[in-house]
Protein backbone atom coordinates (compact mmCIF):
# COMPACT_ATOMS: atom_id res chain seq x y z
CA UNK A 1 0.00 0.00 0.00
CA UNK A 2 1.46 3.42 -0.92
CA UNK A 3 2.50 5.50 2.09
CA UNK A 4 0.12 8.24 1.08
CA UNK A 5 -2.84 6.01 1.92
CA UNK A 6 -1.76 5.62 5.52
CA UNK A 7 -1.18 9.34 5.75
CA UNK A 8 -4.70 10.02 4.46
CA UNK A 9 -6.18 7.48 6.86
CA UNK A 10 -4.41 9.11 9.79
CA UNK A 11 -5.73 12.54 8.81
CA UNK A 12 -9.26 11.13 8.43
CA UNK A 13 -9.05 9.63 11.93
CA UNK A 14 -7.75 12.82 13.48
CA UNK A 15 -10.35 14.94 11.70
CA UNK A 16 -13.16 12.63 12.76
CA UNK A 17 -11.88 12.62 16.35
CA UNK A 18 -11.82 16.41 16.38
CA UNK A 19 -15.32 16.73 14.87
CA UNK A 20 -16.88 13.85 16.81
CA UNK A 21 -18.48 12.77 13.53
CA UNK A 22 -17.83 10.65 10.47
CA UNK A 23 -18.27 7.33 8.68
CA UNK A 24 -14.61 6.34 8.89
CA UNK A 25 -15.01 2.66 8.05
CA UNK A 26 -16.78 3.49 4.77
CA UNK A 27 -14.12 6.05 3.94
CA UNK A 28 -11.38 3.44 4.48
CA UNK A 29 -13.34 0.98 2.34
CA UNK A 30 -13.16 3.23 -0.73
CA UNK A 31 -9.95 5.16 -0.14
CA UNK A 32 -7.74 3.03 -2.40
CA UNK A 33 -10.22 3.38 -5.26
CA UNK A 34 -10.54 7.14 -4.76
CA UNK A 35 -6.78 7.61 -4.66
CA UNK A 36 -6.18 5.73 -7.90
CA UNK A 37 -9.02 7.61 -9.56
CA UNK A 38 -7.82 11.08 -8.61
CA UNK A 39 -4.12 10.28 -8.90
CA UNK A 40 -4.07 8.52 -12.26
CA UNK A 41 -7.44 8.44 -14.04
CA UNK A 42 -9.66 11.47 -13.76
CA UNK A 43 -8.96 14.37 -16.08
CA UNK A 44 -9.82 17.19 -13.68
CA UNK A 45 -7.88 20.34 -12.94
CA UNK A 46 -8.21 21.13 -9.22
CA UNK A 47 -7.97 24.81 -10.10
CA UNK A 48 -10.84 24.55 -12.62
CA UNK A 49 -13.15 22.00 -10.97
CA UNK A 50 -16.14 23.01 -13.13
CA UNK A 51 -14.35 22.96 -16.47
CA UNK A 52 -16.82 21.65 -19.08
CA UNK A 53 -14.34 19.13 -20.47
CA UNK A 54 -13.54 17.48 -17.12
CA UNK A 55 -14.25 13.87 -16.26
CA UNK A 56 -16.92 13.58 -13.56
CA UNK A 57 -16.85 11.58 -10.36
CA UNK A 58 -20.01 11.04 -8.30
CA UNK A 59 -19.75 9.69 -4.77
CA UNK A 60 -23.21 8.19 -4.60
CA UNK A 61 -22.55 6.72 -1.14
CA UNK A 62 -22.13 10.22 0.26
CA UNK A 63 -21.61 9.10 3.85
CA UNK A 64 -18.06 8.09 2.90
CA UNK A 65 -17.35 11.80 2.38
CA UNK A 66 -14.29 11.85 4.64
CA UNK A 67 -12.49 9.66 2.10
CA UNK A 68 -13.37 12.01 -0.74
CA UNK A 69 -12.50 15.15 1.23
CA UNK A 70 -9.11 13.73 2.23
CA UNK A 71 -8.25 12.98 -1.40
CA UNK A 72 -9.58 16.30 -2.71
CA UNK A 73 -7.58 18.20 -0.10
CA UNK A 74 -4.44 16.22 -0.91
CA UNK A 75 -4.92 16.98 -4.61
CA UNK A 76 -5.37 20.71 -4.01
CA UNK A 77 -9.08 21.24 -4.62
CA UNK A 78 -9.18 23.13 -1.30
CA UNK A 79 -6.86 23.86 1.63
CA UNK A 80 -5.94 21.07 3.99
CA UNK A 81 -6.85 23.43 6.84
CA UNK A 82 -10.42 23.26 5.57
CA UNK A 83 -10.33 19.49 5.92
CA UNK A 84 -9.39 19.88 9.57
CA UNK A 85 -12.51 22.01 10.09
CA UNK A 86 -14.76 19.15 8.91
CA UNK A 87 -18.17 19.10 10.56
CA UNK A 88 -17.87 22.46 12.29
CA UNK A 89 -20.78 24.89 12.00
CA UNK A 90 -19.48 27.02 9.15
CA UNK A 91 -17.23 24.48 7.45
CA UNK A 92 -17.80 23.71 3.78
CA UNK A 93 -17.33 20.01 4.65
CA UNK A 94 -20.26 18.16 6.20
CA UNK A 95 -21.04 14.54 6.89
CA UNK A 96 -22.37 14.34 3.34
CA UNK A 97 -20.87 16.38 0.50
CA UNK A 98 -22.51 19.56 -0.84
CA UNK A 99 -21.78 20.41 -4.47
CA UNK A 100 -22.58 24.06 -3.88
CA UNK A 101 -19.90 24.34 -1.19
CA UNK A 102 -17.07 21.91 -1.96
CA UNK A 103 -14.83 22.41 -5.00
CA UNK A 104 -14.61 19.11 -6.89
CA UNK A 105 -17.85 17.64 -5.59
CA UNK A 106 -20.24 16.95 -8.48
CA UNK A 107 -23.41 16.14 -6.54
CA UNK A 108 -24.80 16.65 -3.07
CA UNK A 109 -25.39 13.08 -1.98
CA UNK A 110 -26.39 11.42 1.26
CA UNK A 111 -29.70 9.75 0.63
CA UNK A 112 -28.69 6.51 -1.05
CA UNK A 113 -29.69 5.78 -4.63
CA UNK A 114 -29.51 9.41 -5.81
CA UNK A 115 -25.97 9.83 -7.11
CA UNK A 116 -26.19 6.98 -9.58
CA UNK A 117 -29.24 8.34 -11.47
CA UNK A 118 -27.61 11.77 -11.58
CA UNK A 119 -24.46 10.20 -12.99
CA UNK A 120 -26.55 8.44 -15.64
CA UNK A 121 -28.17 11.78 -16.57
CA UNK A 122 -24.78 13.45 -16.75
CA UNK A 123 -23.46 10.66 -18.98
CA UNK A 124 -26.50 11.10 -21.25
CA UNK A 125 -26.05 14.88 -21.31
CA UNK A 126 -22.38 14.53 -22.26
CA UNK A 127 -23.31 12.04 -24.97
CA UNK A 128 -25.93 14.43 -26.39
CA UNK A 129 -23.41 17.26 -26.53
CA UNK A 130 -20.67 15.07 -28.04
CA UNK A 131 -18.30 15.44 -25.08
CA UNK A 132 -15.44 12.93 -24.73
CA UNK A 133 -15.48 13.18 -20.94
CA UNK A 134 -16.13 10.08 -18.83
CA UNK A 135 -18.45 9.73 -15.86
CA UNK A 136 -17.44 7.62 -12.86
CA UNK A 137 -19.85 6.84 -10.06
CA UNK A 138 -19.17 4.94 -6.85
CA UNK A 139 -22.03 3.17 -5.09
CA UNK A 140 -22.15 0.80 -2.13
CA UNK A 141 -23.52 -2.73 -1.97
CA UNK A 142 -25.95 -1.58 0.73
CA UNK A 143 -27.00 1.22 -1.59
CA UNK A 144 -27.71 -1.41 -4.23
CA UNK A 145 -30.78 -2.37 -2.18
CA UNK A 146 -32.40 0.76 -3.62
CA UNK A 147 -34.68 0.27 -6.59
CA UNK A 148 -33.35 3.48 -8.15
CA UNK A 149 -29.96 1.77 -8.57
CA UNK A 150 -31.47 -0.89 -10.79
CA UNK A 151 -33.68 1.61 -12.61
CA UNK A 152 -30.49 3.50 -13.40
CA UNK A 153 -28.64 0.35 -14.46
CA UNK A 154 -31.45 -0.34 -16.91
CA UNK A 155 -31.46 3.22 -18.25
CA UNK A 156 -27.68 3.31 -18.72
CA UNK A 157 -27.55 0.14 -20.79
CA UNK A 158 -30.68 0.96 -22.79
CA UNK A 159 -29.21 4.32 -23.79
CA UNK A 160 -25.76 2.84 -24.51
CA UNK A 161 -23.97 5.07 -22.05
CA UNK A 162 -20.53 3.72 -22.81
CA UNK A 163 -18.99 6.78 -21.14
CA UNK A 164 -20.29 5.62 -17.75
CA UNK A 165 -18.27 3.53 -15.28
CA UNK A 166 -19.97 2.43 -12.07
CA UNK A 167 -17.73 1.18 -9.26
CA UNK A 168 -19.49 -0.92 -6.65
CA UNK A 169 -17.81 -0.84 -3.23
CA UNK A 170 -18.72 -4.40 -2.27
CA UNK A 171 -17.80 -4.40 1.42
CA UNK A 172 -20.74 -6.62 2.33
CA UNK A 173 -22.50 -3.95 4.38
CA UNK A 174 -25.78 -5.26 3.08
CA UNK A 175 -25.31 -8.85 4.21
CA UNK A 176 -26.90 -8.41 7.60
CA UNK A 177 -30.06 -7.01 5.99
CA UNK A 178 -30.48 -8.33 2.48
CA UNK A 179 -28.20 -10.78 0.74
CA UNK A 180 -27.52 -9.26 -2.64
CA UNK A 181 -25.57 -12.13 -4.16
CA UNK A 182 -23.51 -12.00 -7.32
CA UNK A 183 -23.43 -8.34 -8.31
CA UNK A 184 -21.45 -9.02 -11.48
CA UNK A 185 -24.13 -11.40 -12.77
CA UNK A 186 -26.82 -8.91 -11.86
CA UNK A 187 -25.17 -6.04 -13.74
CA UNK A 188 -24.49 -8.34 -16.70
CA UNK A 189 -28.18 -9.22 -16.75
CA UNK A 190 -28.91 -5.50 -16.93
CA UNK A 191 -26.72 -5.19 -20.02
CA UNK A 192 -23.41 -4.01 -18.53
CA UNK A 193 -19.84 -5.12 -19.05
CA UNK A 194 -18.51 -6.19 -15.66
CA UNK A 195 -15.05 -6.52 -14.13
CA UNK A 196 -14.42 -7.95 -10.67
CA UNK A 197 -11.38 -6.75 -8.72
CA UNK A 198 -9.83 -6.53 -5.28
CA UNK A 199 -10.77 -2.98 -4.30
CA UNK A 200 -7.62 -2.53 -2.23
CA UNK A 201 -5.18 -3.73 -4.90
CA UNK A 202 -3.97 -0.60 -6.69
CA UNK A 203 -2.75 -2.52 -9.73
CA UNK A 204 -6.13 -4.16 -10.24
CA UNK A 205 -7.99 -0.89 -9.60
CA UNK A 206 -5.83 0.94 -12.13
CA UNK A 207 -6.08 -1.74 -14.80
CA UNK A 208 -9.87 -1.88 -14.52
CA UNK A 209 -10.22 1.89 -14.70
CA UNK A 210 -7.85 2.13 -17.67
CA UNK A 211 -9.68 -0.43 -19.77
CA UNK A 212 -10.91 0.85 -23.10
CA UNK A 213 -14.58 1.75 -23.15
CA UNK A 214 -16.76 -0.99 -24.61
CA UNK A 215 -20.11 -0.85 -26.36
CA UNK A 216 -21.76 -1.11 -22.94
CA UNK A 217 -21.51 0.82 -19.67
CA UNK A 218 -18.93 -0.71 -17.35
CA UNK A 219 -19.49 -1.97 -13.80
CA UNK A 220 -16.42 -2.61 -11.64
CA UNK A 221 -17.29 -4.87 -8.73
CA UNK A 222 -14.63 -3.99 -6.16
CA UNK A 223 -14.46 -6.35 -3.21
CA UNK A 224 -13.42 -4.31 -0.22
CA UNK A 225 -13.18 -4.46 3.56
CA UNK A 226 -15.07 -1.91 5.59
CA UNK A 227 -12.54 -0.16 7.84
CA UNK A 228 -9.62 -1.54 5.81
CA UNK A 229 -6.27 -1.02 7.51
CA UNK A 230 -7.44 -1.07 11.11
CA UNK A 231 -7.96 -4.42 12.76
CA UNK A 232 -10.13 -2.75 15.38
CA UNK A 233 -12.44 -1.36 12.74
CA UNK A 234 -12.46 -3.94 9.94
CA UNK A 235 -15.92 -5.41 9.37
CA UNK A 236 -17.02 -4.20 12.79
CA UNK A 237 -20.57 -2.78 12.48
CA UNK A 238 -20.03 -0.63 15.58
CA UNK A 239 -17.79 1.56 13.43
CA UNK A 240 -20.34 2.31 10.69
CA UNK A 241 -20.80 5.84 12.02
CA UNK A 242 -18.51 6.51 14.90
CA UNK A 243 -15.75 8.92 15.81
CA UNK A 244 -12.84 7.39 17.71
CA UNK A 245 -12.26 8.05 21.37
CA UNK A 246 -8.82 9.36 22.33
CA UNK A 247 -7.73 5.87 23.29
CA UNK A 248 -9.09 4.32 20.07
CA UNK A 249 -7.44 7.05 18.05
CA UNK A 250 -4.05 6.28 19.54
CA UNK A 251 -4.45 2.54 18.96
CA UNK A 252 -5.50 2.91 15.32
CA UNK A 253 -2.83 5.51 14.56
CA UNK A 254 -0.24 3.05 15.86
CA UNK A 255 -1.68 0.32 13.62
CA UNK A 256 -1.37 2.59 10.61
CA UNK A 257 2.11 3.92 11.29
Amino acid sequence: MPKILNKLKCSILQTSFKAGEGHIASAFSILDILWVLYDQILKIDPLKPRDEKRDRFFLSKGHASLGLYAVLAEKGFFDKEEFERFGTFDSILGGHPDRNKVPGVEASTGSLGHGFPMAVGTALGLKITGSQAKVFVLIGDGEANEGAVWESALLASHHNLTNLICIIDYNHSTDRALHIGDLAKKFEAFGWRTISIDGHNHKEILESLKLKLSEKPTAIIATTIKGYGSKMMENNPAWHRKAPTKNELEIILKELT
Binding site: N100, S108, S111, M118
Partner: protein, 292 residues
Protein backbone atom coordinates in the same frame (compact mmCIF):
# COMPACT_ATOMS: atom_id res chain seq x y z
CA UNK B 1 -53.52 21.66 -21.90
CA UNK B 2 -51.85 18.32 -22.65
CA UNK B 3 -52.03 19.03 -26.38
CA UNK B 4 -50.49 22.42 -25.68
CA UNK B 5 -47.55 20.74 -23.94
CA UNK B 6 -46.88 18.88 -27.18
CA UNK B 7 -47.03 22.06 -29.27
CA UNK B 8 -45.02 24.13 -26.82
CA UNK B 9 -42.51 21.33 -26.28
CA UNK B 10 -41.92 20.89 -30.00
CA UNK B 11 -41.49 24.63 -30.47
CA UNK B 12 -38.97 24.85 -27.62
CA UNK B 13 -37.06 21.79 -28.89
CA UNK B 14 -36.67 23.61 -32.21
CA UNK B 15 -35.67 26.88 -30.58
CA UNK B 16 -33.37 25.69 -27.81
CA UNK B 17 -30.62 23.09 -28.36
CA UNK B 18 -30.38 22.65 -24.60
CA UNK B 19 -33.94 21.42 -24.15
CA UNK B 20 -34.50 17.71 -23.42
CA UNK B 21 -37.94 16.13 -22.92
CA UNK B 22 -38.36 13.00 -20.79
CA UNK B 23 -41.74 11.26 -21.01
CA UNK B 24 -42.87 8.74 -18.42
CA UNK B 25 -44.50 6.59 -21.12
CA UNK B 26 -47.09 9.35 -21.43
CA UNK B 27 -48.08 11.55 -24.41
CA UNK B 28 -45.64 9.53 -26.54
CA UNK B 29 -47.89 9.28 -29.60
CA UNK B 30 -48.62 13.00 -29.38
CA UNK B 31 -44.90 13.78 -29.52
CA UNK B 32 -44.31 11.48 -32.53
CA UNK B 33 -43.09 14.34 -34.76
CA UNK B 34 -40.65 15.46 -32.08
CA UNK B 35 -39.24 11.94 -31.88
CA UNK B 36 -38.57 12.11 -35.62
CA UNK B 37 -37.13 15.61 -35.61
CA UNK B 38 -35.15 15.64 -32.35
CA UNK B 39 -34.19 12.01 -31.66
CA UNK B 40 -31.37 12.86 -29.23
CA UNK B 41 -33.42 15.29 -27.16
CA UNK B 42 -36.72 13.53 -26.47
CA UNK B 43 -37.00 10.16 -24.74
CA UNK B 44 -39.80 7.87 -23.70
CA UNK B 45 -37.82 7.20 -20.59
CA UNK B 46 -40.13 4.53 -19.16
CA UNK B 47 -42.08 3.99 -15.97
CA UNK B 48 -39.37 4.71 -13.41
CA UNK B 49 -40.12 8.13 -12.05
CA UNK B 50 -37.52 8.28 -9.27
CA UNK B 51 -34.57 7.66 -11.55
CA UNK B 52 -36.09 9.87 -14.21
CA UNK B 53 -35.93 12.86 -11.88
CA UNK B 54 -32.36 11.98 -10.91
CA UNK B 55 -31.42 11.53 -14.55
CA UNK B 56 -33.00 14.91 -15.34
CA UNK B 57 -30.85 16.47 -12.62
CA UNK B 58 -27.78 14.90 -14.19
CA UNK B 59 -28.76 16.40 -17.54
CA UNK B 60 -29.16 19.79 -15.86
CA UNK B 61 -25.63 19.41 -14.44
CA UNK B 62 -24.33 19.32 -18.01
CA UNK B 63 -26.20 22.51 -18.92
CA UNK B 64 -29.26 20.88 -20.48
CA UNK B 65 -32.79 22.08 -19.63
CA UNK B 66 -35.03 19.09 -18.86
CA UNK B 67 -38.80 18.84 -19.05
CA UNK B 68 -40.16 15.76 -17.27
CA UNK B 69 -43.75 14.80 -17.99
CA UNK B 70 -46.10 12.24 -16.48
CA UNK B 71 -49.23 11.92 -14.32
CA UNK B 72 -49.22 14.09 -11.18
CA UNK B 73 -49.04 11.48 -8.36
CA UNK B 74 -46.16 9.66 -10.02
CA UNK B 75 -44.27 12.84 -10.82
CA UNK B 76 -44.72 14.48 -7.42
CA UNK B 77 -45.54 11.95 -4.74
CA UNK B 78 -43.48 8.99 -5.92
CA UNK B 79 -40.47 11.16 -6.75
CA UNK B 80 -40.68 13.66 -3.92
CA UNK B 81 -37.27 12.95 -2.41
CA UNK B 82 -35.65 13.18 -5.85
CA UNK B 83 -37.32 16.56 -6.44
CA UNK B 84 -36.14 17.73 -3.03
CA UNK B 85 -32.56 16.39 -3.12
CA UNK B 86 -31.70 16.24 -6.82
CA UNK B 87 -33.18 19.59 -7.83
CA UNK B 88 -34.03 21.65 -4.74
CA UNK B 89 -30.91 20.95 -2.69
CA UNK B 90 -28.56 20.86 -5.70
CA UNK B 91 -30.00 24.21 -6.90
CA UNK B 92 -30.62 22.96 -10.43
CA UNK B 93 -33.11 24.13 -13.02
CA UNK B 94 -35.74 21.81 -14.48
CA UNK B 95 -39.37 21.62 -15.48
CA UNK B 96 -41.91 19.11 -14.20
CA UNK B 97 -45.15 19.07 -16.13
CA UNK B 98 -47.96 16.96 -14.74
CA UNK B 99 -51.36 15.98 -16.04
CA UNK B 100 -54.32 14.68 -14.10
CA UNK B 101 -54.48 17.48 -11.52
CA UNK B 102 -56.68 16.67 -8.51
CA UNK B 103 -59.16 14.33 -10.14
CA UNK B 104 -59.14 14.61 -13.93
CA UNK B 105 -58.86 10.81 -13.82
CA UNK B 106 -61.86 10.67 -11.52
CA UNK B 107 -63.03 7.23 -12.58
CA UNK B 108 -59.57 5.70 -12.16
CA UNK B 109 -59.65 6.13 -8.41
CA UNK B 110 -57.46 7.68 -5.75
CA UNK B 111 -54.13 6.25 -6.98
CA UNK B 112 -54.49 8.59 -9.95
CA UNK B 113 -55.76 11.61 -8.01
CA UNK B 114 -53.30 14.24 -6.78
CA UNK B 115 -54.89 17.07 -4.79
CA UNK B 116 -51.80 17.10 -2.54
CA UNK B 117 -49.20 18.09 -5.15
CA UNK B 118 -49.09 21.84 -4.56
CA UNK B 119 -49.01 21.58 -0.78
CA UNK B 120 -46.31 18.91 -0.90
CA UNK B 121 -44.08 20.81 -3.32
CA UNK B 122 -44.37 24.02 -1.32
CA UNK B 123 -42.21 22.23 1.25
CA UNK B 124 -39.24 22.23 -1.12
CA UNK B 125 -37.41 25.55 -0.75
CA UNK B 126 -37.00 27.23 -4.13
CA UNK B 127 -39.54 25.05 -5.95
CA UNK B 128 -41.71 27.19 -8.23
CA UNK B 129 -45.32 26.14 -8.77
CA UNK B 130 -47.44 27.17 -11.72
CA UNK B 131 -51.17 26.45 -12.08
CA UNK B 132 -52.29 27.71 -15.48
CA UNK B 133 -55.99 28.23 -16.15
CA UNK B 134 -55.87 27.63 -19.90
CA UNK B 135 -53.65 26.06 -22.53
CA UNK B 136 -52.58 29.47 -23.85
CA UNK B 137 -51.60 30.56 -20.36
CA UNK B 138 -49.53 27.41 -19.91
CA UNK B 139 -47.70 28.11 -23.15
CA UNK B 140 -46.93 31.65 -22.06
CA UNK B 141 -45.84 30.71 -18.54
CA UNK B 142 -43.65 27.84 -19.77
CA UNK B 143 -41.86 30.10 -22.25
CA UNK B 144 -41.34 32.72 -19.55
CA UNK B 145 -39.81 30.38 -16.97
CA UNK B 146 -38.55 27.13 -18.51
CA UNK B 147 -34.88 28.13 -18.55
CA UNK B 148 -34.72 30.34 -15.47
CA UNK B 149 -32.33 27.96 -13.69
CA UNK B 150 -34.81 26.98 -10.99
CA UNK B 151 -37.03 23.91 -10.52
CA UNK B 152 -40.56 24.65 -11.70
CA UNK B 153 -43.70 22.53 -11.47
CA UNK B 154 -46.50 23.05 -13.99
CA UNK B 155 -49.86 21.62 -12.97
CA UNK B 156 -51.87 20.94 -16.13
CA UNK B 157 -55.55 20.07 -16.00
CA UNK B 158 -58.37 19.12 -18.29
CA UNK B 159 -60.42 21.75 -16.43
CA UNK B 160 -59.94 25.08 -18.15
CA UNK B 161 -61.23 28.62 -17.83
CA UNK B 162 -63.23 30.08 -20.71
CA UNK B 163 -60.92 33.05 -21.22
CA UNK B 164 -57.13 33.40 -21.22
CA UNK B 165 -55.39 36.33 -19.55
CA UNK B 166 -51.99 37.90 -20.28
CA UNK B 167 -50.42 36.17 -17.30
CA UNK B 168 -46.96 36.98 -16.00
CA UNK B 169 -44.86 34.42 -14.17
CA UNK B 170 -44.79 35.19 -10.46
CA UNK B 171 -47.52 37.83 -10.63
CA UNK B 172 -51.19 37.72 -9.75
CA UNK B 173 -53.68 39.47 -11.97
CA UNK B 174 -56.46 41.79 -10.78
CA UNK B 175 -59.55 40.57 -12.67
CA UNK B 176 -62.09 42.73 -10.94
CA UNK B 177 -62.07 45.37 -8.19
CA UNK B 178 -64.61 45.63 -5.36
CA UNK B 179 -64.84 46.58 -1.71
CA UNK B 180 -66.53 43.87 0.34
CA UNK B 181 -64.11 40.94 -0.02
CA UNK B 182 -61.18 39.58 -2.03
CA UNK B 183 -61.52 36.33 -3.90
CA UNK B 184 -58.27 34.54 -4.63
CA UNK B 185 -58.86 32.18 -7.55
CA UNK B 186 -56.07 29.78 -8.52
CA UNK B 187 -55.82 28.45 -12.10
CA UNK B 188 -58.99 26.66 -13.24
CA UNK B 189 -60.84 27.79 -10.11
CA UNK B 190 -61.27 31.18 -11.78
CA UNK B 191 -64.17 30.06 -13.96
CA UNK B 192 -66.54 29.03 -11.13
CA UNK B 193 -65.30 31.98 -9.05
CA UNK B 194 -66.33 34.39 -11.80
CA UNK B 195 -69.71 32.68 -12.07
CA UNK B 196 -70.14 32.99 -8.31
CA UNK B 197 -69.64 36.71 -7.94
CA UNK B 198 -70.47 38.36 -11.25
CA UNK B 199 -72.83 40.75 -9.50
CA UNK B 200 -71.03 41.17 -6.18
CA UNK B 201 -68.93 44.11 -5.04
CA UNK B 202 -65.75 42.06 -4.58
CA UNK B 203 -62.18 41.98 -5.84
CA UNK B 204 -61.00 38.93 -7.79
CA UNK B 205 -57.30 38.15 -7.88
CA UNK B 206 -56.16 35.47 -10.30
CA UNK B 207 -53.08 33.45 -9.36
CA UNK B 208 -51.37 31.23 -11.93
CA UNK B 209 -48.07 31.18 -10.02
CA UNK B 210 -48.53 30.10 -6.41
CA UNK B 211 -44.84 29.75 -5.53
CA UNK B 212 -43.31 32.24 -5.31
CA UNK B 213 -46.50 33.78 -3.92
CA UNK B 214 -47.24 37.34 -5.06
CA UNK B 215 -47.84 38.97 -1.68
CA UNK B 216 -47.73 42.53 -3.01
CA UNK B 217 -50.78 42.22 -5.24
CA UNK B 218 -52.80 40.73 -2.40
CA UNK B 219 -51.61 43.36 0.10
CA UNK B 220 -52.64 46.11 -2.28
CA UNK B 221 -56.05 44.61 -2.97
CA UNK B 222 -57.52 43.43 0.31
CA UNK B 223 -58.59 46.40 2.42
CA UNK B 224 -61.72 44.50 3.53
CA UNK B 225 -59.76 41.86 5.42
CA UNK B 226 -62.18 39.25 4.06
CA UNK B 227 -60.73 36.56 1.81
CA UNK B 228 -62.39 33.75 -0.11
CA UNK B 229 -59.65 31.34 -1.19
CA UNK B 230 -60.63 29.13 -4.15
CA UNK B 231 -58.02 26.46 -4.89
CA UNK B 232 -58.35 23.47 -7.29
CA UNK B 233 -56.25 21.26 -4.97
CA UNK B 234 -56.34 20.59 -1.20
CA UNK B 235 -58.27 23.36 0.49
CA UNK B 236 -56.33 25.91 2.50
CA UNK B 237 -52.96 25.23 0.91
CA UNK B 238 -52.21 28.95 0.48
CA UNK B 239 -53.59 30.04 3.87
CA UNK B 240 -50.18 30.64 5.39
CA UNK B 241 -49.07 32.73 2.40
CA UNK B 242 -52.19 34.85 2.75
CA UNK B 243 -51.79 35.31 6.50
CA UNK B 244 -48.15 36.29 6.03
CA UNK B 245 -48.94 38.69 3.19
CA UNK B 246 -51.67 40.51 5.13
CA UNK B 247 -50.04 40.44 8.56
CA UNK B 248 -50.84 42.29 10.86
CA UNK B 249 -54.28 43.00 9.32
CA UNK B 250 -57.01 40.98 11.06
CA UNK B 251 -58.59 38.81 8.39
CA UNK B 252 -61.39 36.32 7.91
CA UNK B 253 -60.87 33.47 5.42
CA UNK B 254 -63.36 31.12 3.80
CA UNK B 255 -62.06 28.22 1.72
CA UNK B 256 -63.14 26.38 -1.39
CA UNK B 257 -61.07 23.43 -2.53
CA UNK B 258 -60.60 19.70 -2.34
CA UNK B 259 -61.38 18.37 1.16
CA UNK B 260 -58.66 16.33 2.88
CA UNK B 261 -60.27 12.97 2.32
CA UNK B 262 -59.91 10.21 -0.28
CA UNK B 263 -62.43 10.92 -3.04
CA UNK B 264 -63.70 7.38 -3.43
CA UNK B 265 -66.50 8.14 -5.86
CA UNK B 266 -65.82 7.64 -9.57
CA UNK B 267 -67.72 9.31 -12.43
CA UNK B 268 -66.57 12.51 -14.10
CA UNK B 269 -64.43 15.38 -12.83
CA UNK B 270 -67.48 17.64 -13.03
CA UNK B 271 -69.21 15.36 -10.54
CA UNK B 272 -66.26 15.69 -8.18
CA UNK B 273 -66.50 19.48 -8.65
CA UNK B 274 -70.10 19.36 -7.53
CA UNK B 275 -69.22 17.06 -4.61
CA UNK B 276 -66.50 19.36 -3.23
CA UNK B 277 -68.32 22.62 -3.97
CA UNK B 278 -66.19 23.86 -6.84
CA UNK B 279 -69.21 25.36 -8.64
CA UNK B 280 -70.50 28.87 -9.10
CA UNK B 281 -73.48 28.38 -6.82
CA UNK B 282 -71.51 26.69 -4.03
CA UNK B 283 -68.83 29.37 -4.12
CA UNK B 284 -71.54 32.04 -4.04
CA UNK B 285 -72.92 30.48 -0.86
CA UNK B 286 -69.46 30.63 0.73
CA UNK B 287 -69.17 34.25 -0.32
CA UNK B 288 -72.51 35.11 1.29
CA UNK B 289 -71.35 33.45 4.50
CA UNK B 290 -68.12 35.45 4.38
CA UNK B 291 -70.00 38.71 3.93
CA UNK B 292 -72.41 38.14 6.86
Amino acid sequence: MRQQLIQSGEALLAKDQKLVILLGDMSVFGFREAFKNFPTRIYNIGILEQSTIGLAAGLAMTGMVPIVHTIAPFLVERSLEQLKDDFGYQKLGGNFVSIGASYDYSALGCTHHCPGDVGILKNIPGMEIVVPGTAAEFDSLLRQAYDNGRPTYYRLSEQENTESYPVKFGKAQVIKKGKKATIIAVGPALRPSLEACANDDVTILYYTTVAPFDSDTLRNNCSSGRVLLCEPYYTGTLTNDIMSALNPLPIVIENVGVPREFLTHYGKASEQDAYIGMTGSAIHSKLKKLLL
